[in-house]
Amino acid sequence: MGHSLHLTVDGQEHTLVVDSRTTLLDALRDRLGVMSAKKGCDHGQCGACTVLVDGRRLNSCLALALTHDGAEVTTADGLAPEGELSTLHRAFLAHDAFQCGYCTPGQVCSAAGMLAEAADDAPSVVTDDLEGPVELSEEEIRERMSGNLCRCGAYVNIVAAVSRAAEESR
């Protein structure tokens, strides 16, 4: 059965009719041709499908599209409007934080979400003082990025890239 769905994706408005089973990831890729978000595991286990929904990072493979009717979705593409690379994108390039690049759009979106969360002083499980300010140590970055798996194993450079972006955006 078809349901009408309205989404703003990377600044572009779309209205489409979807089957109730459509996930946000499938709506983006199969219906809107937005290929930046990747499908890895399709079960919430790899983070390749991470996008920002109304500013917060989510796994789009486990989100029903209809739940997010009216939402503003940002993919790694949208973080680099008009071909301008963001601080994060440049840091990923500078640190060679990818090999095949399949996980990269998810890593970039997750990093953007995570930097915002840390800027709000949201604690993580490795934060010593739950009530104190958040310092983005390597340990903190690793923990906060742990929902994104890189099969090529470029973890070290991803942490370095996020660390650089955190410093630059301070």
């Binding site: 089957d19 109730s20 919430g44 486990l62 029903l64 949201a122 739950l130 742990s146 929902g147």
Partner: protein, 344 residues
């Protein structure tokens, strides 16, 4: 995925009515467990009732000094709530130890409590499983049991409850507020989940159509508390064993004495396991290694490990005693009325 109808509920009472009237309908919250099950064929509802627009998103102080957390508060928001961080650090830490940043942004308090077991056979519809299909058998018994129960299991099911948050709520004596077709009822979280017995398909005591609307925490209690999770990787993995504990030590007398202890275990049973036997040993005892191990042993006396998880008995024993040693030391050095948190 089987086709299903979709409806967006406008209010809690409406959501309850719609689901109550349709035997195969389900609530959808963050979807991080349910959508996975729709894909795997573990859940085959004919109607999905989306409760994401319900206004159950408030964290509110209660008159008695406790806290009420709406069922639709996201796990990340609850973990970051200043009052939860200050007064119930054990809950904050338990939430933060679960899943990933992305998943916690979507996962809700109600959904986290009602997430289903991660038993691999339960999730694999090609294998027999009494929880998924009553009477079909249990593939775990004699199979891969690293993540399975050592306490309270039955011959019909040996699965464990996967939630970290629920373990902390159990040690905190939280109450689950539930709305049903005939009104509201309040269930102590310790009585929400069931042991498998011969009905492993029924995870909880909830009736079809009952909606969790909130969780209520009693006023913060004195002592030191923590949540400790032992897992196969440093992050993004379910617990093999976890311990939520609060200990209050009385240092007024000649020797310190444990005034009060609350302990719950995760990863060991079909439900978050309240360790009453261990608590009884601790109450009034001197805080030393002998006491801690005696408390763990009292709880684990009933343990019946499976072929693949004997190690969990030792792991649970060690984790309980380590956590107790840390907490009694921390509690003894803090003033009596403050709630102090220590962690890994």
């Amino acid at each position: 995925m089987n086709p299903f109808d979709y409806e967006r509920a406008a209010d809690a009472a409406g959501a309850v009515t719609i689901v109550t009237d349709r035997p195969e309908a389900v609530f959808l919250a963050g979807g991080t467990n349910l959508v996975d099950h729709l894909k795997l064929g573990v859940a085959e509802p004919d109607l999905v009732v989306d409760i994401n627009r319900l206004e159950l998103t408030e964290v509110k102080a209660l008159d008695d000094g406790g806290l009420r957390i709406g069922a639709m508060v996201r796990n990340s928001d609850a973990a970051a709530d200043p009052r939860i961080r200050r007064d119930y650090p054990m809950l904050s830490r338990a939430l933060l130890s679960g899943a990933s940043g992305q998943l916690r942004n979507a996962a809700t308090m109600g959904g986290n409590l009602l997430q289903r077991t991660r038993c691999v056979y339960f999730q694999d519809t090609t294998t027999p499983c009494n929880k998924r299909e009553p009477g079909s058998g249990c593939s775990a018994i004699g199979g891969y049991t690293r993540y399975h129960a050592i306490l309270g299991a039955s011959a019909d099911c040996v699965a464990t409850h996967p939630s970290d948050m629920a373990v902390a709520l159990t040690a905190l004596d939280a109450t689950v507020v539930v709305l049903g077709a005939t009104g509201e009822r309040r269930i102590p979280v310790t009585e929400l989940h069931r042991l498998p017995g011969d009905r492993p398909d029924q995870d909880t005591v909830l009736e079809h159509g009952e909606l969790i609307t909130a969780l209520e925490l009693p006023p913060p209690r004195p002592g030191a508390s923590t949540y400790r999770k032992i897992r196969d990787r440093a992050s993004y993995a379910f617990a093999l064993v976890s311990v939520a504990a609060r200990v209050d030590v009385d240092t007024a007398g000649p020797a310190p004495v444990i005034r009060e202890a609350a302990i719950a275990l995760g990863g060991v049973a079909h439900k978050p396991w309240r360790a009453h036997a261990a608590e009884t040993v601790l109450r009034g005892a001197e805080p030393n290694q002998e006491t801690f191990l005696a408390a763990a042993d009292a709880e684990l006396e009933a343990a019946e490990p499976l072929d693949g998880n004997h190690f969990k008995v030792q792991m649970t024993r060690g984790t309980i005693s380590t956590v107790l040693a840390e907490l009694t030391a921390a509690s003894a050095t803090t003033s009596e009325s403050t709630t102090e948190d220590t962690h890994e």
